[in-house]
Amino acid sequence: MTGRSEVTVALTGNPNAGKSSLFNALTGAHQRVGNFPGVTIEKHEGYVDFQGRRITVVDLPGTYSLTPFSPEEIVTRRYIIDEKPDVVVNVVEGANLERNLLLTVQLMEMEVELLVALNMIDEVEEKGISIDVKQLQKLLGSHIVPTSARQKRGIELLLDHILRVADGRIEIVKNKLTFSPEVEQAVEKITGLLSHERGLEGANHRWLAIKLLENDREAYQLVQRHPVWVKVELALQAAITECERLHRTDPEVLITEDRHAFIRGAMQECVSQPHAEKATVTDYIDTVVLNRVLGLPIFLTVVWGIFQMTFSLGAPLTQGLEYLFGLAGHALEPLLPDPLLKSILVDGVLAGVGGVVVFLPNIVLLFIGLSFLEASGYMARAAFVIDKVMHRFGLHGKSFIPMVTGFGCSIPAIMATRTLKSRSDRLATIMAIPFMSCGAKLPLYVLLAGAFFPPATAANVMFGIYLLGIAVGLWTAWMLKSTVLKSDSEPFVMELPPYRWPTLASVVFQARMKAVMYLKKAGTLILMAVILVWAASNFPHSREIDARLALEKAHIEASGEAPERRSAELAEVSARAQSSQLEYSVAGRCGKILEPIIRPLGFDWRIGIALVTGLAAKEVVVSTLGTIVSIGHTGQAVTDLSSILRSDPGFSQATALSLMVFVLLYIPCVASIGVMKKEVGSWQPVFVYTGYVLLVAWVASFVTYRLALLML
């Protein structure tokens, strides 16, 4: 039999079964490899050309089951039913076969073309577990291919099997699982009823019957639309009464227990585990890491360590980059004859984009840290350790992971809240995330803290800013959960995956992806914003100021003073003229309009401009400040923004603190507002939220500024 040239394969499996790694090994395309249950929420696709045919691989989210309990499960189920992939590969973790088989059994019930990848076979061998693959194949009716994504074992064999299943060269035996007599009887009766319903032609009747008995919402909705429902409902009720009478429980429990009984039977027949199972490495690590006394300090140390690494290790690299940009500016300046072109390139592009790019090392280091935590399995422990605190604020321990991701960027963080099942938990977490200071705000803190505080204090100031963000975020969540979102919360039922060494490749890949994303942002969005800001701050150009400058210059030239004194005076008047030009420009006028509102916070109109442009992306606050402030300071190195700021009369320690607080709290960037709208579903809450955020930012900055004026 010759098959079609294109074959579609869906990968399914429990979280932590190594599904994503297998996907990478199959397709060669890298993607997120994590260890926290439910890290792959989106559908990931890749393809591989094998034996002259293209195999499209779709990586479905990790699930334990196929009840419509969570978004992941719904996604998986719908994909299999609606898209009808040619082959479904169930990735099971060899060392934890028993619990992985629950999903396998449910896939068998769906009667799909199922292939089982017995993954992490290297771990199975290490642990001395022996699995009778032949016998297990007989019991399941599907072929089993031992694989190890890590060691790239069994990949070709799996691809070969996929093609053979797709072509029908391997026959999949279906309906291997029969339930206990009462359930089986009910299933058969309902299957019979459903098969007579015209509207349900083409549906898998037996599967639907099982789902109805399991009290499955989606199955109910489907069948209720058809006239056969009247009969089905009676049959269901009879089954429920019967099960209650004989077993004192409902069919849902019985079906699950039957599945587990089938699995237990298969395990006893096919798997032998070494009896004296030693405490695993994970056990030893957890006795320390989750210890009642040490657990919290370790947790705090880990989080603190990540930030220390980001800032201390990043600082020299940042300075190096700053130096390079400075050199480039100096080298470029004499080469450009046209003053307008020189201004746009040196003051605009180089100062703006350069000011953003120099923070690349910090961003990369932060993401290396976060992806290490996630891939190693510590993130789930962190949720366990911190759940009580999060729960007190109405959140879930799992909210912690998206919130920490928020320190990198709000956008992936908001998307990561999809792991939360309850809508109210999700909304509260989403609204708290923008207060988790994102990586884009970091450049401003580094700049201001570095410029106005000695190095040791600067780190503390930044730590304080982060803490403030966390406090406001948690307070927001708590407020929401105790008022508008006062509905039930998601249960905390979570598996702790075994610790695994993240592969260097996946951590490096993560960091590289983030670096590229950051640079792309710098190259496109930020470059555009920078040019816009530059134009807004250079036009309209006042001829009057030009004329006055020329007059003053001529006056100084003619004064007959010492040459050094004359050039100093010349520099001063031209700086003053440039500053007046800026005030005259579009940007200056916008800033002026804002000034009365932000004056109480210690901000002048120039900061107003920076804040407005910062809506595009938070990094732009720094680049705008760089552009605007350096215009008024001719003759100084473009990149050394900190010393320009220090010498600027509009800035003080109090202003710096106030500005950091304001940028920490005020409206998230345009992109994250967009994502937020997408996840929340409508604009109204997002607008209300934006207003709330602005108010909080204003009040917090006001208090900070006034306190700082009193104390510093």
């Binding site: 629950l102 039922v493 702790l496």
Partner: protein
């Protein structure tokens, strides 16, 4: 007896899973059904979620959720572990007395 009443180190058998439907579904999907042997491994540093282990699965759940799970105590931790001689000694911070 409820799962939430067990102490760290106790072993027990599940007799009923009677929490709210959503939690029950999830617990059963994770293999926590009637007849499962479990062991209370530890309690989080702040005293709330607890960690249990059964069939090689390390599961964390809040006490409020553990309230809905009925268990039969198999061995309390005070007794010398019968089959679990290979297990390392557990800390006893979770004990009430």
């Amino acid at each position: 007896m409820k799962l939430s009443e067990l102490h760290v180190g106790d072993r027990a058998e599940v007799t009923s899973v009677g929490t709210e439907p959503l939690v029950r579904r999830r617990l059963m999907d994770l293999g926590l059904i009637r007849g499962t042997d479990l062991k209370v491994l530890r309690v989080a540093p702040l005293g709330d979620p607890m960690e249990i282990v059964y069939k090689g699965l390390y599961l964390t759940l809040r006490r409020s959720e553990a309230d809905g799970i009925g268990v039969k105590l198999l061995d309390a931790e005070v007794l010398p572990p019968v089959k679990e001689g290979r297990q390392r000694h557990r800390t006893r911070f979770g004990r009430a007395s």
